[in-house]
């Protein structure tokens, strides 16, 4: 991929209180009442040198070098908890933290190796795993139903399905893809994918502070999307959903966007007659930070789960707005080694303990990161015999008659 971008700002060198306050949303710093709710609700607030409240206080006091030199922001998994709870309504995760993270990233003396590899891979191959860019749609041959690729068949289409990286490449993510393809087929949806032309939407790179990489990816994706005619974009990735909804519009993107969960939930009446297989599972649902706290999508996935014959839905203590992050956002997906070295608890472990305590035998998720994160946590904690992780779309597809 080329390194040029029409939208990105170039690296800045000096950051001052003035430049921060001039940045969009920067003035919100001034309305913080220093109550500390953010620090209390932050899943890593107890291990950061400076939790959000203190970062804001330090920035206001002009201690900018100290903030940028600290590694605290590497522990921000952008879970939107501080923003959801802020009594002043400060757009912490939306505006303030990314602003500081971007600068902190440029000042990092050393990017943790795992994160560095993911970012370099994403720049080069369009996916953080470093898999062949040309094999992005290789899963489609295993889908069981035909999947149209726009590069080969560029006719206008109703649903442009933006598959995303973990779904396209991770073996368990590909289960999500196959399930989604079956559900689209069951609904008779006119759908197509970008195939090898698609690149990572880049949201997690942006929230890790690597905004230049995000801009490069956004430009590349917008250029490809501009070639085709489609009525709506539906994506399997919650972070991609966020990017298309909130960030890509500044690059000129203006099509309706849905996550697969919301797409199928709004077509549940058409899908229901096909959901005939009784599953017999007790399911607890994990609200992903992005769908839940950031976009208020709490009921759609639950409505889908309740529509599946033989599914009993139970709730974890922390649900909906109080959901506990899996730890994968904002670059956290590639900081497990770093957190481990620091002695932090893995957030996925914390979440899975709570899921197991419900007595459910399935932990249902809607974000492609969560499948591998929670499956690892189940194995680490020794609960992998009593609970499995399934995406909501996987459960729906399983309930389709043969």
């Amino acid at each position: 991929m080329g390194l040029t971008s029409a939208h990105g700002a170039d690296a800045q060198t000096a950051v001052t209180l003035e430049t921060l306050l001039e940045a969009p949303g920067g003035r919100e710093l001034l309305s913080c009442i220093q109550c500390g709710t953010c620090a209390g609700t932050c899943p890593y607030g107890d291990v950061m040198d400076w939790p959000p409240r203190r970062i804001i206080g330090m920035l206001r006091a002009g201690l900018i070098e100290e903030v940028l030199a600290s590694e605290s922001l590497l522990s921000c998994v952008t879970c939107y908890a501080c923003m959801a709870k802020c009594p002043r309504g400060l757009r912490l995760t939306d505006l303030l933290l990314p602003l500081v993270k971007e600068q902190a990233f440029l000042h990092l003396p050393e990017v943790p190796a795992e994160l560095q590899k993911a970012l370099s891979n994403t720049l080069r191959y369009g996916n953080p795993m470093g898999e062949s860019a040309r094999k992005r749609s290789a899963w489609a041959a295993t889908g069981g139903v035909p999947v149209r690729v726009l590069a080969q068949d560029p006719r206008p289409v109703d649903v442009l399905w933006f598959v995303e990286c973990y779904t396209a490449y991770h073996p368990r993510g590909q289960d999500n893809c196959r399930a989604t393809a079956k559900l689209f087929a069951a609904l008779g949806t006119d759908v197509a994918i970008l195939g090898h032309e698609e690149k990572c939407a880049g949201e997690c790179a942006r929230l890790a502070g690597e905004t230049g990489l995000f801009d490069t990816l956004m430009d590349a994706n917008l250029k490809v999307l501009g070639k085709y005619e489609y009525a709506r974009l539906v994506t399997s990735g919650v972070h991609a959903y966020d990017a298309f909804l909130h960030e890509y519009p500044r690059g000129g993107f203006d099509q309706p966007v849905e996550h697969t969960t919301t797409y199928f939930a709004s077509r549940l009446e058409a899908l229901k007659p096909r959901l005939t297989k009784k599953l017999g599972y007790t399911v607890t649902y994990h609200d992903s930070c992005v769908l839940g706290r950031h976009n208020g999508i709490y009921e759609e996935p639950r409505r889908l789960l309740r529509a599946i014959p033989g599914v009993k839905l139970v709730e974890m203590v922390h649900n909906r707005i109080n959901s506990i992050c899996c730890g994968g956002g904002g670059g956290g997906m590639w900081l497990d080694t770093y957190y481990k070295a620091k002695g932090y608890e893995r957030l996925a472990d914390r979440r899975v303990r709570e899921a197991v305590a419900t007595g459910a035998d399935v932990l249902a998720v809607s974000c492609p990161y969560e499948v591998s994160r929670f499956e690892d946590a189940l194995k680490v904690l020794g609960h992998d015999k009593q609970m499995v992780i399934r995406d909501v779309v996987e459960l729906l597809a399983e309930a389709l008659e043969g």
Binding site: L3, T4, A9, A11, F105, A113, Q116, G212
Partner: protein, 259 residues
């Protein structure tokens, strides 16, 4: 200390490689070029030495597809100059590259003499790692390869290089300068440079170009045939419960006189 880093592009093996229609070379149009991994380590080692001792780093490569991105990235990481050798008919053999470099280096304004020339000790298209020792021979200076660390003090006229051998044996060699070093791995993994910094460098930085002299060296080795690995289909999968599989394994080993 003044350090010259030699970098080159190689086919990226993450993507499928194709054999060209002539049946004896790689289809370079189908391949995606990537910077040779150990050259990236050579750059990192040079930058680490510059961080510690001061001085300057010049990065040089023979023009090829996507090399500009690599040179701008080197500038963004801290290389002081980037130079591209233009007008070479690709691909050259290792000996020809060494001759070309030995002839072109003095033609780069303000470049020679340098204290150190560092480059990858191997590349996936030069597994014998011959370019660096050939170049040292042409320049008439010492060469040490498979280097994993360099210690130096300013003004000593020599460096101490670290090499690792099988079985955890490590050796240190004193090398008088100037010298050519083939780097296997830098002391630290190559640093990350944010894309925004590379982009800023593309606007403000400059890649110098120098014309390649004609190199009249015919390759001494000819590739006769290049093919993809051919599936032999000789594996036999043992199936059944563990007891049955174990008996079968024992039978096979015994039949071959191994137990």
């Amino acid at each position: 200390m003044k350090i010259l880093v030699l970098m080159k592009m190689v086919p990226d093996i993450v993507e499928e490689l194709e054999v060209a229609p002539d049946g004896k070379s790689l289809d370079l149009d189908a391949a995606r070029p990537i910077v040779s991994e150990s050259d990236d380590h050579a750059l990192e080692q040079a930058l680490l030495l510059k961080d510690r001792l001061g001085g300057s780093v010049v990065t040089l490569g023979v023009a090829s597809r996507d090399l500009d991105d690599v040179l701008f990235t080197a500038l963004a990481k801290g290389s002081d100059r980037a130079v591209k050798v233009e007008g070479v008919e690709q691909p050259l053999g290792t000996a020809a590259v060494a001759v070309l470099l030995a002839e072109v280096l003095p033609a780069v304004p303000g470049l020679m003499p340098v204290d150190l020339v560092v480059t990858g000790c191997q590349a996936i298209d030069d597994l014998d790692g011959l370019v660096a020792p050939f170049l040292a021979e042409k320049l008439g200076i010492p060469y040490v390869g498979v280097v994993t660390g360099v210690e130096a003090k300013a003004g000593e006229g020599r460096v101490t290089v670290l090499k690792e051998y099988a079985g955890g044996v490590r050796a240190r060699y004193a090398v008088t300068l100037p010298a050519v070093l083939g780097i296997q791995a830098a002391e630290k993994p190559p640093r990350y440079v944010p894309v925004a910094k590379v982009r800023a460098t593309m606007k403000t930085g400059k890649i110098e170009t120098v014309a390649a002299p004609a190199v009249g060296i015919a390759p001494a080795v000819e590739v006769l045939r290049m093919t993809k690995p051919e599936a032999a289909g000789q594996a036999e999968m043992l199936e059944g419960d563990p007891e049955a599989v174990a008996s079968k394994v024992a039978e096979i080993l015994s039949a071959r006189g191994l137990i």
